[in-house]
Amino acid sequence: MTMSFSAPLVKIKSLHKSYGPHIQVLKGLDIEMKPGERVVVIGPSGGGKSTLLRVMMGLEKIDSGSISFAGKPYISSEAADKKTVIDTEVRRSIGMVFQHYTLFPHLNVIQNLILAPCKVRGENKASATKRAQALLERFGLGAKASAYPAQLSGGQKQRVAIARALMLDPKLMLFDEVTSALDPELVAEVEQVILQLAAQDMPMMIVTHDMWFAKNIASRVIFCAGGVVVEDGPPEQVLGSPKEERTRDFIERVFHIRH
């Protein structure tokens, strides 16, 4: 990527999003993310965290505002007819992993991984399979290449889902509570994989309720509530000594529950 180091990787400008006429979820969100940053988004349930990530992935329509990636606006709303315009070419630089399991159940692990590279980029099957196998080895899943999703544990499924997204060489990864459907003993293996990506400077935006994980992975934490950014800063500040009262309340409550 050719750009000056301080130019934002993602720039979200006064993003508004509602579901139907009555449920306003995002009420003018502004976020700038620099290359190499790992942003953890925390906030109360229903605060719009998933919605934010889904909008960034191009899965939801927006009311107004815009999002740019690497200087190129790729999601915007046409003022005239309120139509959401999505640049699918730019969107391909972004990968996402969801809270729910989203592997394709009729395909085995390798087939899940190579589907998009082969069909979207026209990569040949042999080379995609080779890359997939290497990625699986790296994530400790080498032996599962020909297993079907139903034969995997939740932790394995999520690791495969991460590998599947990485097959497309994303320049930004979005993680929406990828461990919250997992049994507690399976959480660590998935978080390890994400930490491994972090160690390679993969830019990412992560929604999580796991404060230990947030602390370990974040280069920056955003506290999002009521559809706006309430507090935004380094993890020591937002998680350690938040400036805003609402953040403090939330952090106290979450840590209280966790301990």
């Binding site: 191009g58 899965l59 989203t102 009729h106 069909k119 999703p149 599947r164």
Partner: protein, 221 residues
């Protein structure tokens, strides 16, 4: 009263021919009907209001009228309207295919609808174009999911096909009825006919359960 089942053996060749007709008719209509049902199922979930309307009318009509009436209509009215002679087999195939198409289209529609929205989210997040979403993700899962119900539909068709005897097609039921009338041995002949249907349908019904379990186990996410 003494039962004499040897009468059945005397007519075994005729019964075998009747059974062959039943099986042939069922197999042809299974293949044609499932194919038709697949496309009608797609049309019913399509974005085009026109396709949805046409396919709905077709399905509701064939589900809402007795198969026997449909058969009679196709045997006796369709040739008049079209002005062409249709062989018995052709009429039977048309009638049961249209019926099977309506039934299986509902099966396909239900299986299409059972694919969760999160599968589509994953498709979008992977940048899959619409065509690939449909051919590589949605349709294979829908077909796989439909298999157990389709098998049930096929077993039903095998049994329902006995109705064609009413319009004079020489299927198992028709042959059995004739033998029973001519020999005045309804108990022996019709019991054996029933047993033949059962011996074929029953293992298939059990197979449906097994297949269903395997499909569900495979598609569990």
């Amino acid at each position: 009263m003494a039962y004499d089942f040897s009468v059945v053996l005397r007519f075994q060749d005729a019964l075998a021919l009747g059974l062959w007709m039943t099986i042939k008719l069922t197999l042809i209509c299974v293949v044609l009907g499932c194919s038709l049902g697949f496309f009608i199922g797609l049309a019913r979930t399509s974005r085009s209001a026109f396709l949805r309307a046409v396919s709905s009318i077709y399905v509701e009509f064939f589900r809402g009228t007795p198969v026997l009436v449909q058969l009679f209509w196709i045997f006796f009215c369709l040739p008049l309207i079209l002005g062409v002679e249709l062989s018995n087999l052709a009429s039977g195939v048309i009638a049961l295919t249209l019926y099977m198409g309506a039934i299986t289209s509902e099966t396909f529609r239900a299986s299409l609808k059972s694919i969760g929205p999160e599968q589509l989210d994953a498709c979008v997040a992977l940048g899959l174009p619409r065509r690939v979403q449909v051919t590589s993700v949605i349709l294979p899962q829908a077909v796989l999911r439909a298999v157990p119900t389709l098998l049930s539909n096929c077993v039903s068709l095998f049994k329902e096909s006995a109705l064609v005897s009413a319009v004079g097609m020489a299927d198992l039921m028709f042959v059995g009825q004739n033998i029973s009338n001519n020999t005045a041995r309804p108990v022996e002949v019709l019991t054996v006919v029933a047993l033949i249907y059962f011996v074929i349908a029953f293992p298939l019904t059990r197979a449906v359960t097994l297949v269903e379990r395997r499909v569900l186990a495979k598609l569990a996410i």
